[in-house]
């Protein structure tokens, strides 16, 4: 029991320390890349709270990400650098939109919920895509990066560590939340909402709270993204991104916080691998092919995502051991 509990903690600790040390080895471009992946990890974590934590499949999560990002650019002062206030503001905007969307879409359920969240995301997408405030397809620029006290985000390393810090904090926050009464209630809703009502939980406010919170965290990720690139674009709200982040979750393994981490990184690395000319030569141009196939393979082979691998292996070993003890009959069975 305790061993089982410990190993994930150790693993996560390892990951974070590795990330903290990375800038020592990684050059400018590497740092840039890893910061980006970490931002997506935060984004994936925010969605995990909904999908894995509460059992609500949201197919429009990019909206909150994008709103956070656009808020960061649109609300930033023209001439001087913005402060931490901007962060709070962006997160609030995302949370506010999440509150509205949640309040409405939580009236539906199942496939319809998936689709309504998508609809609201598309609404936000076209809002920035077709109206002047969003700058159309070309997006808009954040000319001066914020400064948190003495912490000038114009310097890539500062930004890197701010992102890492946010990632660790978000992770810790959710870890606490999952163990809290609130978290348990959400888990209960995920397993059997009807039962929760019969027990006396008014489930709606719980779900709404989770939805809003998740939206706020996605907004945080969006803010970081906008600050990192100093550029926002409608595609940050597109359903493609909503899809990608879902994929990260499923790839990593739903229902585990570390699944979101693993998912974000492995999704990125899968892409990098299939894009690399060294392996595929000129064929690397068609990297989507490899990515698509491997995703499908994951569905077939890893129903529980990458997190589930150790468990699956243990199972298989156990089975093989059992079969060996049974002798030959087992072999036929497997052929």
């Amino acid at each position: 029991m305790t061993a089982k509990r410990a190993s994930p903690l150790v693993f996560v600790a390892l990951c974070f320390s590795a990330l903290a040390l990375y800038p020592l080895v990684g050059g400018q471009f590497g740092v840039d890349l890893v910061s980006k992946i970490m931002i997506y990890a935060i984004f994936a974590l925010s969605l995990e709270l909904l999908v894995g934590g509460t059992g609500l499949v949201c197919f429009g999560h990019a909206a909150f990400f994008g709103i956070g990002a656009y808020a960061a650019v649109l609300l930033a002062p023209e001439t001087e650098a913005a402060g931490a206030g901007l962060l709070a503001l962006s997160v609030l905007m995302a949370a506010a939109y999440a509150l509205v969307v949640g309040a409405l879409s939580l009236r539906t359920s199942g496939v319809y919920f998936i689709m309504v969240t998508l609809a609201f995301a598309q609404m936000a997408y076209y809002l920035v895509h077709d109206t002047p405030l969003g700058g159309g397809t070309d997006g808009i620029y954040l000319l001066i990066k914020p400064v948190f006290g003495a912490f000038d985000l114009d310097r890539p390393l500062n930004l890197y560590f701010l992102i890492l810090l946010s990632l660790v904090l978000v992770f810790a926050f959710l870890a606490l939340l999952y163990r809290s009464r609130f978290g348990r209630a959400l888990a209960g809703i995920r397993v059997n909402e009807q039962r929760m009502r019969a027990t006396g939980f008014s489930t709606y406010p719980y779900k709404l709270a989770a939805f809003t919170l998740s939206g706020a965290l996605a907004g945080l990720a969006g803010f970081l993204f906008a600050v990192k690139d100093g550029f926002v674009n409608p595609e940050m709200l597109s359903w493609h991104l909503s899809g990608s982040v879902l994929i990260m979750l499923i790839l990593g393994g739903i229902g585990h916080l570390r699944g979101a981490l693993i998912g974000a990184f492995s999704f990125a690395l899968l892409q990098e691998f299939f894009k690399s000319e060294a392996v595929f030569g000129s064929f690397a141009k068609h990297w989507h092919l490899g990515l698509g196939l491997s995703i499908m393979a994951c569905v077939a082979l890893l129903p529980h995502g990458l997190v589930g691998i150790p468990g699956q292996l243990r199972e298989r070993l156990a089975r093989q051991a059992a079969q060996r003890s049974q002798g030959t009959g087992a072999v036929d069975e497997r052929i």
Binding site: G27, V245, I247, F273, S276
Partner: protein
Amino acid sequence: MNQNQHNKLCNSFPAQGSQVASQGNSAVARRSDVRCGVITRLILAAVALSTAAAMPSQAQTKEGKVKVGLMLPYTGTFAALGTAIENGFRLHLAEHGGKLGTREVELVKVDDESDPAKATDNVNKLIKRDNVDVIIGTVHSGVAMAMAKAAKDSGTILIVPNAGADAVTGPMCAPNIFRSSFSNWQPGYAMGEVMAKKGYKRVVTITWKYAAGDESVRGFKEAYEKSGGKVIKELSLPFPNVEFQALLTEIAASKPDAVYTFFAGGGAVKFVKDYAAAGLKKSIPLYGAGFLTDGTLEAQGADAEGLFTTLHYADSLSTARDQVFRLAYAKTFKMQPDVYAVQGYDAAQMLGVGLGAVKGDLSRKADFAAALKSARIESPRGSFTLGSNHNPVQDVYLRQVVGKENKVISVASKALADPGRGCKM
């Protein structure tokens, strides 16, 4: 129905394909088959990334060679344009034995897919990973904006061989940013004067809702309304949507004297065809910025016959300089050059002038800029100079489509200089 056609489902990650990096990654992947534990996977990942990141040090430009990054669209709507620009650039290079100024040139290519969403990543690849000395690119205005921003931050020299986004030589202008093509404002403004002269009183404009379109229309409107015309309706649809039917009907409804439009590439083909199919061609004359009929005439066929457009280049300039260029181009690449080829060619010329002036020492950015400003580029389009905002001061021609050619009718506007609004330099 309108979502950017260029963004693929997972455009949400930085692309990265350098040799060293990819070996690292392949190492990851070769072992990162399903069985490999997650931790190993993560560590391998870190290794891969660090090698990826470490590589610039190895990829430092070798002495003597100047590293030029070509960031152009090789796929998507503007693929053909990207190729033409590269050809033009290579042609000039070839004419000078692969040298610009005194130094050998090494080319690094990146496909920007005309996707603004990926622009920042792509340009970072060139600047941060490949450490290029000069960037040439690109076609799409939105992408060019991202490049200009990155160039401004990093101080890398940028020469824009097509994208006309006004801001590049406006608010975003910088000592290290130049343009060998035009500003969206220029052809539009010239056409404004032309159509006012032709005596049209009420005009409808239609374009894609993105920087290039908006600015072209703005330029047109400025000149046209200054000389007494009236733009009664400004129609637009999201880039790169090509379902024009509803808007064509709208044009018919408002019965203008003429229509001014800005479309390019595939969209231009589709628009001209639909415009004719809707029967508007015979009732309401269609005018446009030159890209409407450049490199698209084959596909447009008879529907384009007789259209008037304004641009800083045409197929039948019949100047000696132009003929030499066209001949050489046709010989080397087995196809006719277009305005994009010219712009690529001139980008190379400009770089050559600059490099020559600083004796190949690109750290002397001030001298580089000064040399370009004082220089007179002998372009196939006719010689031009650079304005204070580093945008060409050039003649804009009025052309008409005759058969498969954009024939010159007259010079619509002589030595037209972009106002470079918002440029502090």
